[in-house]
């Protein structure tokens, strides 16, 4: 063999080896780019913004995209009502409002340093990439740090004895990936200051659910992540309770450009999902063929949201949801004169001197309302009226006859919260205690001081008087979809003579309450 031929062979072998290596590497990394190999991420980051600057060296448009979304702005215009909605503007009957409480609330902001109303919303390095893209499960943003994770070991809150460990930012940055049930849930399961508190259909049991809890997210089956339905484009995520699509002329199609909502049942299942096959296991209705039954059930789709039958109860994963929060009961101290906490048999807090009384419940059967997708909120400054009933924090639009509404399952959540009896408005108290102002309710147990501080921060008038008002809030139920065999049976709503007078729909207006047809005896 000549020297030239030998060199050619050598080059050929090297080429083959190189190609093989490339193919193998590509295959091994098919699930995503191996960020650990990037030089810019091989540094000991001292802060979140440092990581973001590194991310932006490649993903140079990402921060700009995020900054256009409600996850960043925490407010958005609802075009159908003209209201600015979102965490930055709304008042609720859980933790009440963000004004003067920023460091606590903004642990759930996709940003760093939102500690007061002067936060710079134009600074790209303040965008937090890791909150959504961490795959290590180690990235946390504790309440009170204004959206920062822990950079150094610290006792927090000071004097509590609780030691927080720093996050290994290098490790987290080198292992970024797709969002997951864990990353989305880090905020969305814990809204209202605790696991499962707010929604009723979102809690940490959905991190690794079984089929019984959610047929789509079943960790051993379909294994949907949140983003399977809540599709994102340019960091804009589909599906929000602030702008819901509850009924359309036709089923929205997954992947359609703007003005579509792929986060809906129909985007996959279509408008007539019940077939003859799906009727096979259902007890026959006299006078109906299987095809006829399928047609009847599909007809329900015109008046009922899919969720109405397919989510028979909320909070089914062993985590209770909050049904009532009575702030007026706060302030009672323990026998030692210090703030106290009482727990129920399962270890859940039911009384807290700082926050008042809670009522929790599991396996809650929803209530049902006509809903056309429009939600109108009682904003800070809107007049409220104290009475026997509960004043609505939000109102769901809808009626049986408008041609746009369907019957939706909802969580009715009740509260007793401070308000201004002179101005007749809701108020935002300063509850977050930064240890210096003394105005926080958690430090002073003085409502007048706390509300004065909160309203001053919000730039809203306050008379100086505080009373309490009963309020209620509606939460649409759309997660925790049960397996089809656990969907509502006909007789959950219809009595044997077909009437709707006694079943789940008995309180829903505009339904024919008399006999519709006869079910099997």
């Amino acid at each position: 063999m000549s020297k030239v031929q030998g060199l050619r062979n050598l080059a050929g072998w090297l080429f083959l080896a190189m190609i093989g290596g490339i193919f193998f590497s590509v295959g091994a990394l098919a699930a995503g780019v191996n960020h650990a190999k990037f030089g810019v991420l091989k540094q000991d980051f001292k802060s979140g913004p440092e990581v973001t600057r590194a991310c932006l060296t490649c993903h140079d448009e990402a921060a700009g995209e995020v900054m256009k979304t409600p996850h960043w702005t925490l407010s958005q215009l609802n075009p159908s009502t003209g209201q600015m909605v979102g965490k930055k503007t709304l008042v609720n009957n859980f933790c009440i409002g963000i004004a003067s409480n920023y460091p606590d609330c903004t642990s759930c902001h996709v940003g760093y340093g939102f500690k007061d109303k002067t936060f710079d919303f134009t600074k790209e390095e303040n965008v937090d990439c890791l909150a959504c893209h961490d795959t290590t499960g180690t990235y946390r943003k504790p309440s009170g740090l204004a959206g920062h994770p822990v950079y150094q070991e610290m006792e927090f809150p000071p004097g509590s004895g609780e030691i927080l460990r720093p996050v290994d930012l290098r490790k987290v940055a080198q292992n970024v990936g797709k969002t997951s049930r864990y990353t989305c849930g880090a905020c969305h399961y814990y809204g209202g200051h605790g696991n499962g508190v707010k929604h009723g259909d979102l809690d940490a049991s959905l991190e690794a659910p079984d089929r019984e809890l959610d047929v789509h997210m079943d960790a051993l089956g379909l294994d949907f992540s949140c983003s399977t339905c809540h599709k994102a484009a340019g960091h804009k995520i589909a599906g929000s309770r602030f702008q819901m699509n509850v009924k359309r002329p036709g089923p929205p199609v997954r992947g359609m450009p703007e003005d579509s909502n792929p986060a809906s049942c129909e985007s996959c299942h279509g408008a007539a999902p019940h077939s003859v096959d799906t009727m096979a296991k259902i007890k026959p209705i006299p006078g109906f063929t299987k095809a006829g039954m399928a047609a009847v059930v599909n007809q329900h789709n015109n008046k009922l949201a899919c969720q109405t039958c397919h989510i028979p109860a909320m909070a089914r994963g062993g985590v209770p949801t909050k049904m009532l929060w009575d702030w007026s009961a706060a302030g009672k101290m323990g026998p030692d004169g210090k703030p106290t906490i009482e727990k129920d048999a399962k270890g859940h807090t039911v009384y807290d001197s700082k926050r008042g009384t809670f009522v929790l419940a599991e396996n809650v059967v929803p209530e049902y309302v006509w809903f056309n997708g429009e939600v109108k909120y009682t904003l800070l400054g809107d007049k409220v009226k104290k009475g026997e009933g509960h004043f609505p924090i939000n109102r769901f639009g809808g009626s049986p006859n408008d041609g746009k509404s369907r019957i939706w399952p909802v969580k009715f959540y009740r509260g007793v919260q401070p308000y201004d009896p002179v101005n007749q408005t809701l108020v935002i108290p300063n509850t977050y205690d930064d240890g210096s102002s003394g105005s926080s309710y958690f430090a002073s147990f003085n409502w007048e001081k706390a509300v004065a501080a909160g309203m001053a921060d919000a730039g809203a008038p306050f008379s100086g008087k505080v009373d309490f008002i009963k309020t209620e809030m509606l939460w649409p139920i759309t997660h925790m979809v049960a397996p089809k065999e656990k969907a509502l049976a006909c007789n959950e709503c219809h009595s044997r003579n077909g009437s709707l007078a006694e079943g789940r729909m008995k309180k829903v207006p505009g339904l024919k309450k008399g006999p519709l047809f006869k079910l099997n005896p």
């Binding site: 050598l10 990394l29 499960g137 864990y182 051993l220």
Partner: protein
């Protein structure tokens, strides 16, 4: 060329194996979470919340428990409960055991260990009642 061929084959093998070597198995805490919730917690319950919360122990306590390899108060070894034989024995009634039937024993134990190190009382993401 006779001398070059083994050398080149070795070179190719190294090139192909490099990504594997770089990715030595680290416990998958998410899979560990599923196994912990759906298999371990299926038997191990405690007050008040049902399944034993990972944050009921520190990392050191969990490591000590795993390394001691003792189950049922020392009456038997712990390792078999991560094993294929155990999974096969309960696969008929436990979907997680069935799903992970073929996962190597050591990997599954590493998965649960990774979950416990993450979720322990002094872990990066302490996890209580769920």
């Amino acid at each position: 060329m006779k001398m070059q061929k083994p050398l080149l084959l070795a070179l190719a093998a190294i090139t192909l194996a490099a990504p594997l070597a770089a990715g030595a198995y680290e416990g998958n805490w998410k899979r560990g979470d599923i196994y912990y919730r759906m298999v371990c917690s299926d038997c191990h319950k405690s007050q008040p919340c049902g399944p034993i919360a990972p944050n009921s122990r520190t990392r050191a306590e969990w490591m000590s428990y795993l390394e001691a390899d003792k189950h049922a108060k020392g009456k038997e070894a712990l390792k078999p409960y991560f094993g294929k034989a155990f999974r096969a024995s309960i696969a008929g009634k436990n979907k997680a055991a069935a799903k992970f039937a073929d996962v190597p024993d050591a990997e599954l134990q590493a998965d649960v260990e990774a979950l416990l190190m993450r979720s322990a009382k002094d872990g990066d993401a302490p996890t209580g009642c769920r």
